[in-house]
Symmetry: C2
């Protein structure tokens, strides 16, 4: 199949490209490199050195013997989106090109606006361009388990049958997101559900758990590693815990640390996306997959980090700063995740095994963590005036109103 990946230069886009190529699919990439730019905006970088995309294309050519066509551009420009879909006519589009950081969206009003506008507009542009240029293609859209929040009932895969005041219906499960970013994903889900109905499109909406890991089986060379963000804005809790342990900083589960989330290894995330691609939805069908492997509490992650760090001769300690987010610190959490298994999903990686591998990689790049150790500890608050001057200064460059213009050229890293 020919698969277009938007956001191919990103954390999961790049491993997905390698995985699909290794399975014999054709891959075409789209990216505007905004994540590289935004990570610099908060004063950070990837712990793993990331080659330029042109270098990545050459590596794919040399190491996998494959071509990797690429369109540089912004999904905020409809003419660009329409041209790419018209030229490429993909069988599937895996849409990963979104602002993906909850803390980034909470920095201030402009980051809130940029997040919601960019994410919603990119998706709208894609579904219209699909309608006009490849209506039979299958849209695999990256959502997040965070759309559901933490309700006191089981979380179905997108829809549920309910009885209310004596009558029954099958309805979308209510969304209760916890950041402007998470709400932007809820909005996308609504738009894609509606687009599949009015434009008769095939759509799979992936409610993705938190992904962990830096490498997949296809990364036979260190230069193929994906990015690893460890700053408070772009790094996940687990990434920051491991970076904290390596740097001798306290490991910082927020609040009680009993927040539970769904997680999945990078390798199994790309497996899941491939399964979705290889088993497309029907025309007009909008289906939702809860794509995570297992649920862990933040304390479990902190403790496993502590344990592995201790084994490696580090001297980790755990601290519990007040939770800067507005979220339940103790809650029920039981999402259903059956649809991927029905397509043949099998867990290939265990959490502690992947965490050891992450420690090994990060100890190798310890100097790159050290050089940015000031960006690891949390400072962004969900409420007013929690954002300190240091962060505000780092992001000052972005406080201008968002613009529809494409970003200036970047030369990473």
């Amino acid at each position: 199949m020919k698969v277009l990946i938007t956001g191919i230069d990103g954390y999961s886009g790049w491993p997905l490209a390698l995985h699909l190529l290794s399975r014999g699919h054709d891959v075409v990439g789209v990216d505007n490199f905004v994540t590289r730019r935004r990570v610099r905006e908060v004063g950070s970088w990837s712990a793993t050195p990331i080659p330029s995309f042109a270098q990545r294309q050459r590596l794919v050519n040399q190491l996998l013997g494959k071509e990797l066509p690429f369109h540089r551009g912004d999904l905020g420009r409809y003419d660009f989106v329409a041209r790419v879909l018209e030229e490429e006519h993909p069988d599937a589009i895996v849409h990963l090109a979104e602002q993906r950081s909850a803390p980034y969206s909470m920095i201030d009003v402009h980051h809130a606006v940029t997040t919601q506008v960019d994410n919603v507009v990119g998706t709208l542009h894609l579904v219209y361009a699909m309608r006009d240029h490849c209506p039979d293609a299958h849209l695999v859209k990256m959502g997040t388990m965070g759309e559901y929040g933490t309700p006191n009932v089981d979380i179905p895969e997108g829809f549920f049958e309910i009885e209310y005041r004596g009558r029954k219906d099958r309805l979308p499960f209510p969304r209760q997101a916890g950041s402007w970013y998470h709400w932007s994903k809820v909005f996308d889900s609504g738009d894609v559900m509606f687009a599949s109905k009015i434009f008769d499109l095939r759509a799979t909406d992936v409610m993705q758990g938190v992904i962990y890991g830096i490498r997949t089986a296809e990364m036979t060379d260190r230069r193929l590693l994906t990015r690893f963000d460890f700053d408070e804005t772009w790094g996940t809790a687990l990434n920051r815990f491991i970076a904290q342990a390596v740097l001798g900083l306290p490991i910082t589960p927020y609040g009680k640390g009993e927040q539970i989330r769904g997680f999945i290894a990078l390798e199994d995330s790309v497996q899941s996306l491939r399964l979705a691609v290889e088993h497309p939805a029907d025309r007009g069908e909008y289906r939702v997959f809860n794509q995570f492997d297992a649920a862990y509490s933040i304390n479990q992650l902190a403790e496993t980090t502590h344990q592995i760090a201790t084994e490696l001769g580090l001297s980790p300690r755990i601290e519990h700063p007040p939770d800067p987010r507005i979220e339940a610190e103790q809650h029920y959490y039981a999402p259903i995740h059956e649809r991927l298994y029905a397509l043949g999903y099998q867990r290939t990686r265990e959490l502690s095994e992947v965490m050891r591998e992450m420690f090994t990689d990060l100890l190798r790049y310890r100097h790159r963590l050290e050089a940015r150790r000031h960006v690891v500890m949390p400072t962004i608050g969900w409420r007013r005036a929690d954002n300190p001057a240091a962060l505000n200064a780092r992001v000052a460059a972005s406080s201008a109103p968002p613009s529809a213009e494409p970003p200036p050229p970047v030369q990473d890293r």
Copy 2:
């Protein structure tokens, strides 16, 4: 109380201002006059001649003996929103400044994008400016009953208690909107629910039924009438039916005409908004009112139009064009609407009485309907390529990508 009305120049903003002033409240207005511009964009105008806003201010001064301060500007500019809230420090903000037409949002990708971006950004800007400049103010946000779609169960007021797989929770009622516009209102509801939580704001979210009528008790002079849109984009079904009857065109309920919606008279809509303003939500409370008076099928509206038109000596006829929307033409519809009654809401107007009054007003302005008779009949389709060349030509001016710039000055009508 001091009430800031965003969108004060619009269909319901203007009558609300008159009503609040007559009840002794102070009113401050905000508008960018984009509705006047967009109605011109589709080749139409208001059947009632609408004075410029400066004239409206003078009329308020002369006829009601009141001041009506006004800020001209766009909610898409955060500096403007922040400045107005800082200067005015309102007790309540009634937020009506949104793109309000479902067909307009369905014209093409650019109208879809403009609708969702403008509506979401305006609301985000408001809640951030409230956080920083008037955190104790009460936000009354105009939503729509259309957010809920037409589920096969009763529709509660925003939230419902459910049991699912043996556990219980109180959750937001699922939204299933039917146009990009309706989805934009769903998005706003999510953002306001979240903002009230993280910023500790008072918020009332009004799931508004379709409003009908041109006048309220405060409109003691013909120059005070509100706008009446009758074109396929900006006019409601009822408005178009009456215009069709006056013009000798067929009355056009879409499809089977058994679509049921909630309706409320303009006079009772402003009564409801005043009750919400006068009984503010608590700090951190997000409450939802289903604000309609009675549910009617589209056929009931068409038949009542037919009956009144016949009494008036017109020769109406009803035709059923294929439904250009993607919607259920036969469905269950039983929304709950109790919270307004608990605040003292009482119906003051009956549908057929208001419709007679609308006929009277429109027969007076018949020449203005005649001059734009070509814009009444439906042409905008929800699917691809249903939008004919005539419409496309009319809207060509708007096909540029949306811009954050304020619109150029306009001199209505």
